[in-house]
Symmetry: C2
Subunit: 424 residues, 2 copies
């Protein structure tokens, strides 16, 4: 350690070690990465008792601090939770290595070959709340993509995360990979997060996973690019040419599959020509499921038990058993409503009309735009990504569900035989 | 205009108009966009005299203010400059429309189709220095990609840019496109730039074109993502297995094609096993061309007229007729030097050894990595992009030369027939 280094904080030193490890990872083979992931799965099974003993310390503290039961549940490293972690590691180990593949290869008129090669981003900082399974998930995805990662979990999971971090580093070493490629922040000091997001020399991207207020705060203060996941105020539009059975089933599924997910339906828009026929049955089924309805005037003329909707209802991501409903004049008014109120996450149209489907899919400016599907499909596994680090509401780099590719970038690789530009 | 709008500054109002125009552009056809570009080419030819009269005001002011001759030249809308602008517009008009194409299309086990569609970013702010041709280039590239653009040129080109902006908007209107899709900032107030880069609701990305200090300042203060172009401290490594003729010609081309471009060679690394044979001829040719040489001790033992290189030489992007030279032990030491000093722009290896070429191209972490080519090829036209808005030194979204694709993003489009997630 040089004299300069001695002045640095712990988190800045971790970032420097991560940068060094990320350089070594550039030559890591897919085989060694898969081996490290399999060793981790094995170690989690073999060290089950020790992990659960560390986890018990976190659980005791959580109960003592009066944490809600639901949060304590998410903190627990039960046998089932550990089995799921190990299975996830094996699944990622078996996926093809995304690094080093080339695309867009072409030969230029002068004979040189131009291509783009998929490469790691570099150093990724992941900031998350109390679930210790994120430690393993995030480590696996970053390792698979040859990135170095700095993982900062919630303080409630301190002992669990430390124990998991030790297993991860032991397996990296066994596989001949740099141990600093995955580092778990060993402090509950909140200032560490504030510093991590400003270390633009040694951290290439920050991925916060957690509540909207945490993510907004990080995005506001970061000096490093942030892949953020903010609101999911999702819309479904039932077009005049919708199939009534599909409209019913899709609406019900979109709203009630799970209330708390970002792809849950929040506002239903219905074409005026079909509202009479579509709404009564949809309203009845939703009400039977315990969903509160809030409608515009035209909606309430058809569904009298709906409460009046206000401006705030169009703007709100309920994440609960409430649905706003508006009857609109036509496709254009539906798209105007979406352009005005949507958080540009996921929107869907129900229609049998090809022109309406094409216009909706082309002109609605959201990260996912569906035809005849419920918005609750917004999920990397459903899209076939095989893994998901989150859902991005950014417009650039990664948009929508983020799988392994979102943790990579491209570089240009050109090969020639002495071609020159102009004449020497 | 509402009461709220009245409180907004001119630049904030422009950004709101740009956002509205960007929504209208989502339904713009490729044909209308091409028509607008052709109309602009025609208008530039037809309104040549009026444009040159406005340009004369800028040129007079520039001479009065004692602007350097080179800068005055770049400001001038000569007949040749106008012809080049018009030709560029026609070339972009003829390129295929990048918007709306889909990729990665796959059918999931449940029968729904998942694909990604190329879409505009939205609103792009471009901040540049005095060259008025950038106004037309940037407008054409943003229009072709269905983005709305806010263009803020240097104050020296105020009258020229205003006249070009009027032509652009007149042609947009003629083609039936929203006139606010391309807006030229009509003020030389510097505060406008400071505000533009913070309008994260209405501006999606900022592209600064100009000197490093301008770009650094913008990147530091922006609340909007910035596609930035910083240093190009480029390296060439002559491997032990290099062809001596290629090594000579490539080095000369990389350094002397043009000193001022970001792909110009700044440090030459030479394998110790070949330095005796390679360096004397290279040094002689460079010296004949007027390039000053600064070398490490081992270099100076072979090239006595080279000045001693210091640490600062390895770190410097000269952008001039100076070259730093270091003899290294092997490929690993060359790559260590690059990892430490490079700005990760463009690096190249000269070698006939396949394993060395592959390792270099895989492990060197720069946006462009070449084999047997001079670094001065770093240019979007040379890569076959057909157009270039700049060269990005970011790691995310756009890396290296940025063509039309860099001004677009992707959205997910899913199509089904009533598939549900789980069971209702």
């Amino acid at each position: 350690m040089s004299h300069t280094d001695k002045q640095l904080s712990d988190i800045a030193l971790m970032a420097k070690s991560a940068r060094a490890a990320s350089r070594q990872m550039l030559s890591a083979s897919g085989r060694d990465k898969a081996r490290a992931l399999r060793l981790m799965a094995q170690a989690i099974q073999e060290q089950r008792q020790a992990l659960q003993a560390e986890n018990a310390k976190d659980l005791d503290a959580a109960r003592k601090n009066g944490l809600e039961d639901a949060l304590v549940d998410r903190l627990a490293l039960s046998d089932k939770a550990l089995d799921t972690m190990a299975a996830g590691l094996l699944q990622i180990a078996d996926m093809p290595d995304p690094i080093g593949s080339t695309t867009a290869s072409a030969i230029r008129p002068n004979g040189m070959r131009v291509a783009q090669m998929r490469v790691p981003i570099g150093v990724i900082g992941i900031i998350y709340e109390s679930r210790p399974n994120v430690t393993i998930d995030a480590a696996a995805l970053c390792l698979k993509t040859s990135n170095a990662a700095i993982l900062r979990g919630g303080s409630e999971a301190f002992h669990s995360n430390r124990a998991l971090g030790a297993i991860i580093q032991q397996c990296l070493a066994q596989a001949g990979l740099p141990v600093d490629a995955i580092q778990v922040v060993g402090t509950t000091d909140r200032a560490a997060v504030g510093e991590l997001i400003t270390l633009s020399d040694d951290v290439d991207v920050i991925i916060p996973r957690g509540g909207k207020s945490l993510i907004s705060r990080i995005a506001a203060d970061a000096k490093v690019p942030v892949i953020k996941h903010l609101d999911g105020n999702c819309h479904l539009f039932i077009d005049a040419d919708a199939d009534l059975d599909k409209a019913h089933d899709i609406t019900l599924n979109a709203k009630t599959y799970r209330y708390g997910i970002c792809g849950a339906l929040e506002t239903l828009l219905v074409h005026q020509d079909i509202a009479d026929r579509a709404l009564p049955r949809i309203a009845q089924s939703l009400t039977e499921k315990g969903v509160e309805l809030r409608g515009c005037e035209r909606t309430r003329a058809i569904v009298p038990h709906a409460a009046p909707a206000t401006e705030a209802d169009w703007e709100t991501e309920y994440l609960g058993p409430i649905l706003a409903i508006r009857v609109v004049d036509d496709l254009d008014q539906a798209m105007e409503h979406i352009a005005r109120y949507s958080s540009q996450h996921t929107e869907s149209i129900v229609t049998e009309n090809l022109a309406a489907a094409n216009r909706f899919q082309r002109e609605v400016d959201s990260s996912s735009v569906y035809v005849n599907l419920p918005t609750c499909f917004a999920d990397g596994f459903e899209y076939g990504l095989g893994a998901e680090i989150g859902i991005s509401t950014n417009r650039l780099h990664a948009r929508g569900p983020v799988g392994l590719e979102g943790l990579t970038t491209m570089k240009w690789v050109l090969s020639g035989d002495g071609q020159l530009r102009g004449q020497n």
